[in-house]
Each structure stands twice: as C-alpha cells, then as structure tokens.
C-alpha cells in the first residue's frame, strides 16, 4: 500500500459525533486491553468523558480462536461525563472472528456496528479455519454488522517478524486516526508503557502506531471527531479503576495495613497497594486464608491501628464469624467487598450485587454493622475514607460494597487532594481513667470510647462472649439484652445524622426507580431518556444500606410505583408457582419492603453483566405501559 503524505491524512474531514462505544477483542495475550487502556487514557487527556471496562475471558487458558477466550476491552468515550459502559458498541476491532461470538451472545453489537476484522484467517493453512472464517463473516454481515476485513498482520509484518506482540499498537494507531486522537499523546503513552524495555521496543511500538494510523487514513472511510467535554471547573483529574480507587482510599484514610487473601475480582486492589503502599508507610499482608486475613486486621485494629481487609463473596462468607466478633467486641474495622456472581464460586470475574443481605445479616445472632455501597469509581476512594472514620467513631466494623463493574471500570474523576485530617490520628497512649469501663455505653447513642493497648489503666480483656460494661463475661439476661440494645443503638444514632437521599428528577411522578451501587450511571441514563420522552419517572440511589437512609417512606409516597433495579436474583412474577405470597424479591427490595411497608416491586437479573441503560430503559418502558393499561 502507498504511504500517504501528511496532507492526505489531515485533509479528510472528520465527522463530529457526541459519543462512541469502541471495543477491541482478541485471544488473551494479544494486548487488546493495553491498547484499549492507552486509547482511553489518551481520550481522557484530550478532555473526553470516558468509561472503560475489561472483557475478561471465561477461562484462564482458553484455546485460541474460541468464544470462551474473548479477551479485550470496551471504551465508551464522548463529549460528556460517562458513568457506565452503555449499550451496543459502535465500532469493534477484532483479531479473530471467533471471539466475536461471545460478545454477540451478550448483545454487545447491533446492526450497523462496524467490525474491523483481521483477515489473515482467510489464507490460513488450515482449511477448517478458512472455512470458519468465511462462514462467520457471512453470518455477521447477514446480521447487519458492517465487516471490514483488514490485513493487519500483513501490515505489521513489514515492521516486525513477531506481529502478535505488536499488533495491538497497530490497532491503537488505527483507532487514533479514526477518532482523531493526538498522536503526540499516543507516542508519550507508549514511551511510558515500554520505558523499562528500552529504546528499541519503544520505537518499534511507535512505528507500529504510526503504521496503523496511516493504514486507517488510507484505507478507511471512518474519521470522527469527539470534542472535549466542557467542564465548568479546571479541577485536576485522575484516571483509575475502582479497585485502584479502593487502594487510594486506603492510603488517603491513613490506614497502615491491608490484610487480604487473593480473590477475583478484588485482588487487583491489593496488587496496586503492594506496588505503592510503602510510599506512605503501609503494608499489605497476604494471609493464609480469608479468616486469617480478617483476624489479622482485627488484631491490628484492636491494637489501635484500624485496618482493612478486601475480599469478594466467598471470602466474605469465610469472614462472617470474625465479623460477629468485631461487632460484639466493638472493634473498628473496614471490610471492602468487591462483589462477584454467586452462589459458591459462581461467576468469579463477573458482576453481581448479591452480597447485600449477607453483609447485613451474615453473622451469628444479632450483629448490627454499618454497610455502605459506592456508586461511582470516585466514591470507591472517598467511601474508604468515610468507612474508617465511621468504624472508629461508632466502634464497629463497616462493610463497603463495590462490585466487579466498579472494580474494573476506568473513569476520570477529580483528583482527591490529600488532607492531614483524612489520616488516622496517632494512637492515644496517655493514661486511661480507671473509673471509666471499657464499654462505657452512652444510653442515648450506644457510643463509648475504647482503651487502646499501651494506655496504662485501661487494661481490659476483650471478649466475644456476652459481657458487661466492664467487659466481664456475663450470661445473665439483663446484661445480654442491654449490650445488644447498645450495639443496635449505634445504628440508630448514625441514622439520626444522615440526610434523606436526593431524588434524581421530579419529587413526584408515576414511577420511582431505586438502586444502589454500580448501577447508578445506567439507571440515571435510562431515567433521563424516559424523562426526555415526557415520562414521569425519577430515581433515587442509596449509599447507606445499614442503617438505611432516612426519609424513604416519604419519598416513596409521592410515586405511584416504586421499583428497584438490581443485579441479583429475584423471582419473576410470571414464573410458574410464583405469586405475591412466595415471590423472592431482589435484596434491596426485600429490605425496603420490610422497612417501609411500601409495596415495592423489583427487576433484577443474574447475567453477570453490568446494568446497561438501554436494558433498563426497555424494562421501565414496559412497566410504564402496564401501568397505563391498568389505569
């Protein structure tokens, strides 16, 4: 192919668009995620709103060219703030045709989606592969995908004998042309990525980038411009995923210890901390199991250094006995749960909001604790800081729920400016007034201050047995009732400090959607679309789940219908044998029904997929239709 001159490249007019959803999919090990992350970073640096989410293969070592092996990334970029992964993709780059099947199975594409497909399979020595390729391409086209078969391998071979390793940068180059990305910025990103591998590797990758750029300019008709998102502040931004956000929160909160046991999709938070924690004097302890991890964190917290443990559903299940102890003995502790699909080992890499009730109730007896859920990546950072404070102020464990969608999603957000007051204060080692018992509960609030090991005069024996204000074991009925009252009262006193949630949309109307956690962006996007069509729909998103936020009954009373949207199991009312008397509701719905006595409906699924605005839009539209019919 002819090398284009600089002019031919720049002369083509770029079409202005508001947003696009782009995917790169390949076998794992082909660098699709690296290319996509770099593309996302460049876009964020150019001022776009960006949300990226990884496409993780279902198996560790899947066979090449198999649907189960689909690995890659989705990048949603636009001229506005992005809060979720959106619906069907607009453009996808695929390094083989088979991986596309797993994406098609989750409705990732629509008629009209542009597919830029590696065409080397057309001439593969294996006739089976050649046949697979041609049938698939025909099938894709039949289904409305616009497939362009491109000789990416051939082009890369001009620059490197091992194109498998460099093709991702060629792809980045193509995307850079298509979306008018700043090549200078791309070159800098490549430089920073490969800095440890030396100049040679850097320049090869930069050459591949340029080749991809020029190839697209010469051979593709697609050329877009996505203007920067007009922000009204010049606040500095950072780009992270939610698990890095948790790690930042841990450090910004001044917690010095994270005790963990590896579990997908939570582990990357600890990977990140393990890399940088020493810069703020902290330590990641990889324990022998999840029980040991929480026990270790509890030991540290008991000794005055409030610690954190990070896990996912199966680990949470193992930690329950210790959580009960932390509640009973009133030990501050932060437990981050990056939820995945359950039950059992479930869907390790996929999202679910299935651990809400386990967080609230998964312990021996009555174990009231604080449970909060982050709804954005930025909240992953700030909620850890809040969690440590709550844990200490209320002398209790705090569970912070996030999920695989937040954990792996990447988004720019305002850079937190570290503050000394966010950091844990130094531990008090001054003498303790012996007159004050270790559980000197204030009857109004249930609160008490605790002696820290090292405080002379404060010596007490913490126990998981029922105990008196003096921490003396007591089996009598009054002591147990009283201490249970006091621990529960702490939640009531926290509740009294909370503000009612803010309704998104009008304060009254036909339908109110209630959500929690990572579904915020998708729910609001769907609600906005319905509102633009003059539907009287609003939404409200809860951050505090235990205690629940105040004012809910009043908010609910202004809508004809209240429905939760959740990513967890619920019986569909149309299932056989199911009626109102035995329907199992989604988890938040169950809690809200019990607490408010409002007849709240729910819609949920356990597809392991992040909630998508289009899907929610369709569901809510159906409900609105039914309501109209009923009127």
């Amino acid at each position: 192919m002819n090398k284009p001159s600089e002019e031919t490249i720049t002369q083509k007019p770029a079409k202005r668009i508001d947003e696009h959803i782009v995917e790169i999919v390949s076998d794992s090990g082909e660098g699709a995620q690296k290319a996509g992350q770099t593309f996302g970073n460049i876009s964020a640096k150019m001022g776009n709103g960006v949300w990226t989410v990884e496409i993780i293969p279902a198996e560790i070592k899947p066979p090449a060219r198999s649907p189960a092996g689909a690995s890659g990334i989705r990048i949603r970029l636009g001229s506005h703030y992005m809060t979720n992964m959106g619906d069907a993709a607009d453009l996808v780059v695929a390094l083989n045709e088979q991986v596309l099947y797993s994406r098609i199975a989750t409705d990732a594409y629509k008629p009209g989606t542009i597919v830029l497909l590696e065409n080397k399979w057309l001439t593969d020595p294996n006739p089976k592969i050649r046949e697979q390729y041609t049938t698939s391409v025909a099938e894709f086209r039949e289904n409305g995908l616009i497939v362009h078969e491109l000789p990416m391998e051939v082009e890369c071979l001009k620059l490197t004998p091992r194109p498998r390793l460099g093709k991702n940068m060629f792809v980045l180059g193509m995307l850079s042309y298509i979306y008018s990305r700043d090549l200078e910025k791309a070159n800098t990103e490549i430089h920073n990525t490969f800095i440890r591998k030396g100049e040679k590797v850097i320049s090869l990758n930069q050459d591949l980038l340029k080749a991809g750029y020029e190839f697209a300019a010469t051979n593709l008709e697609y050329h877009y411009e996505i203007p920067a998102w007009e922000r009204d502040t010049d606040e500095r931004l950072i780009v992270t995923n939610g698990n890095q956000g948790l790690g930042l929160g841990v450090m910004l909160s001044g917690m010095e210890l994270v005790a963990m046991y590896p579990i997908t999709p939570a582990t990357s938070a600890s990977h990140y901390l393990a890399d940088v924690y020493d810069q703020v004097g902290g330590f990641v302890h990889q324990a022998e199991d999840e029980i040991a991890a929480i026990g270790f964190a509890i030991g540290s917290s008991y000794a005055g250094k409030t610690a954190c443990t990070i896990t996912s559903g199966p680990g949470l299940a193992l930690k329950t006995e210790f959580m009960g102890l932390a509640v009973m003995a009133e030990i501050p502790l932060v437990i981050c749960v990056v939820q995945r699909g359950g039950p059992s080992t479930g869907l390790p890499t996929k999202v679910e909001q299935g651990d809400l009730l386990a967080s609230l109730y998964g312990a021996q007896g009555d174990a009231p604790k604080i449970v909060i859920a982050a709804a954005t990546i930025e909240e992953c950072v700030h909620f850890v800081i809040m969690a440590r404070r709550l844990a200490e102020a209320f002398r209790t464990p705090v569970i912070l729920l996030t999920d695989a969608n937040l954990g792996t999603g990447v988004q720019p957000y305002p850079r937190p400016e570290p503050k000394a007051e966010w950091l844990a204060s130094p531990i008090d080692q001054s003498p303790w007034n012996k007159e004050i018992p270790p559980y000197d509960w204030d009857e109004e609030t249930g609160l008490s201050s605790r002696p820290i090991v090292g405080q002379p005069g404060g010596e007490y024996v913490l126990t998981g047995l029922a105990h008196t204000t003096n921490s003396k074991v007591a089996y009598d009925r009054e002591s147990n009732q009283y201490s249970c009252n006091m621990r529960s009262r702490k939640l009531a006193s926290l509740y009294s400090t909370l503000k009612p949630p803010i309704v998104h949309g009008d304060q009254e109307g036909d339908m109110l959607v209630v959500g929690w956690g990572s579904t915020l962006g998708a729910i609001e996007e769907a609600v906005d679309k319905l509102r633009a069509e003059k539907h009287k729909v609003s939404s409200v998103h809860l951050r505090f789940l235990s205690p629940l936020e105040p004012g809910l009954e009043e908010i609910f009373s202004n809508f004809k219908k209240v429905i939760t949207i959740e990513i967890n199991y619920s019986d569909d009312v149309n299932f056989p044998l199911i009626d109102k008397s035995n329907r199992r509701y989604a988890q938040l719905a169950m809690m809200l029904r019990a607490q408010t006595l409002v007849d709240i409906d729910c819609w949920s699924n356990v597809h392991g997929q992040p909630m998508q605005p289009g899907l929610i839009y369709n569901i809510l539209s159906q409900h609105l239709e039914t309501m109209k019919g009923a009127n």
Binding site: K45, I238, V239, A297, Y302, V453, G464
Partner: protein, 317 residues
C-alpha cells in the same frame, strides 16, 4: 499500684510491678487442672521481667485454656475458637513493641486452627505461644482432640479414638522458619518456668507444647507420665533449658541435645516411646515478619502527604 505518680510515663523507673499487677479475675478452672500452674508461672515471669501490664497482651482462642487472658491483669483478647494466632500476629504487625502471649489448646491450635499454626510459624513474629495440650477437648466436655491417644475413649469415640494422634512437635519442626520449639509438663513448675522464660527471651515465634493435666476428662493420659517419669526424656544442653540438679534428678531418662541440631530434634520428636521435655529446637537468626510488616509505622504526616501526592500523580491526566 505501687510507686505511681501523676505523670508516670516520666517516672517509669519508679514503677514496680507486683504479682498483683498481673492478676485479673479469679481463675475458674477445675481444681487440679494444669492451667492454674501455667497461669501462675506466666504471671511470675511477667513480674520477674517487669513487663509493663499496659504493653502486654494475652491473646487466646476458645477453650478452657483460652480463658487465661481473663485471669491476667494485662490487656487481653479472648477471641474465636482456633483464631488466636491471626489476631496475635495482627496485633504485632504494626505495634511490634507490644509483648504478646498466646494461650491456646490442642484443639484450638492443632485442629480448627491448623492453618494458622503452620503459617504463624512461617511468619515467625515475636511472641510466646503456650499450647495447653491436655489431649482432649475440655470446654466442650470430652471429645477426641488431635492429640488424643489412639484407643482413648471420649464422647465422640466411645469405643476409643480410632486415629493415630498428630505429633505437634514433628509437625512444627517441619515448617520452614521454625525458630523455637519446646515441650514441658505443667506439674513441674520449675521446668515450666524456665521453659516459658526461655521462650519469652527468644526473639521470634516460640511454641511450647505444655503437657497439661485435665483431671476431669483425660486424667489417665497425664497420670501415666506422672506415675512413670521414665517415659519422659529430659533434654539437656548448655543452650537448652537451664535446670538445677535437684530437678534433673526427677527425670530418670535424660540425653544431651544441642537445640541448634534440627535433624536430631526431629529424631527425638519422632520417638513415640519417650516424651521429650526441654528445648528441641532453637534458631535465633530466623527473620521476624513483624520487622517487615511494621516498616513505616512511624512515618510522619508530612511524609505521608508527600507520598500520597506522588501516588496520585501517577494517575494524573
């Protein structure tokens, strides 16, 4: 308390701790239970070493023996069955200056807590671990424990335990980073005292398997050794547990054993006929995990804020 002033942190030399400072609630173990003797010895060592009670923590799991923290006048943590060690390790992790003692049982440590036992040895954090080995589950009233002798009748094995018991000494010696392993008997207070003291002197994880009388549920097991001291093997060495001659005479069977000799320790512990008493293994040079885990625990606010800005800048766009 004795010699106490208003601002006693500045007057530390004048503080003198008596046994009373280490005494908590009245011990509620059965009469004749070996736990009483161990408690007394621990309190005496604290007194003799003048350990500040506020800097001392007794950590335990659940079981009769795990009641020990309640009877101490120091800080204490009476946690969950099998989970004393993770808590103890966590306490040390960022506060290595604290003096941590662990009281655990044969069920607590060698059964439900097995994973933690093995890994705590690998961590080798500086603490003194007393395993009260009465070969039975005491608190829950006579169930088979991992160290119950085969054939011994319990409520879970009324016709006799069906498995060969676990040997905690060989198991412990087989774990990498093991640094201090001793065995003693509760009914010899002098040997008990010297063993626990040597364990406390050791910087690292010291495990003492204390053969402990349970007069209610496993009387026969310890009675046999008390009645037949020739079944005990006293380990002597200049680097071992120091013992006076009159005590030595109580042990008909003795041998020289250099506690730095791992393979010999292993052979001794394997011997199923003779129960060794003394220091099996000691290696003061094993690195301690608390030295690593506590790094940075004195970092100042300014330095932290600078570090935070640096890590945040890595994500800047």
């Amino acid at each position: 308390m004795f010699g106490l002033k208003g601002d006693w942190s500045l007057d530390i030399k004048k503080r003198y701790f008596t046994l009373g400072n280490y005494a908590g609630g009245e011990a509620r173990w059965c009469p004749g239970c070996g736990d009483h003797g161990v408690l007394t010895v621990v309190q005496r060592i604290c007194r003799d070493k003048q350990l500040p009670p506020e800097k001392t923590v007794a950590v335990s799991g659940i079981g009769c023996s795990s009641r020990l923290p309640h009877y101490m006048g120091t800080y204490g943590f009476h946690g969950l069955h099998g989970r004393a060690l993770p808590v103890a390790c966590g306490i040390k992790s960022r506060r290595p200056e604290l003096d941590v003692w662990v009281a655990t049982g044969d069920g607590d440590c060698y059964s439900i807590g097995t994973g933690h036992w093995i890994h705590a040895i690998r961590y080798n954090m500086n603490m003194t671990v007393l395993v009260f080995d009465n070969s039975i589950y005491g608190l829950t009233k006579k169930q088979t424990s991992p160290t119950t002798p085969i054939g011994f009748k319990s409520n879970t094995h009324p016709t006799g335990a069906i498995l060969e018991p676990l040997n905690p000494l060989t198991a412990t010696l087989g774990i990498s980073n093991v640094s201090f392993v001793a065995q003693t008997v509760d009914w010899n207070p002098i040997h008990l005292y010297e063993t626990i003291k040597a364990a406390h002197d050791h910087k690292g994880f010291s495990l003492i398997n204390i053969i402990q009388r349970c007069p209610v549920y496993s009387q026969e097991v310890s009675q046999f050794l008390q009645d037949n001291p020739e079944n005990l093997l006293l380990l002597n060495h200049e680097n071992g547990i120091p013992i006076a001659d009159n005590i030595m005479r109580m042990f008909p069977n003795q041998r020289e054993h250099d506690p730095s000799n791992m393979s010999e320790a292993y052979n001794i512990s394997f011997n199923t006929k003779l129960t060794p008493v003394g220091l099996l293994y000691h290696n003061p040079k094993v690195p301690c995990y608390d030295d690593l885990s506590s790094k940075g625990n004195d970092m100042g606010v300014e330095e932290k804020l600078a570090g935070l800005n640096k890590v945040l800048d890595q994500f800047a766009i």
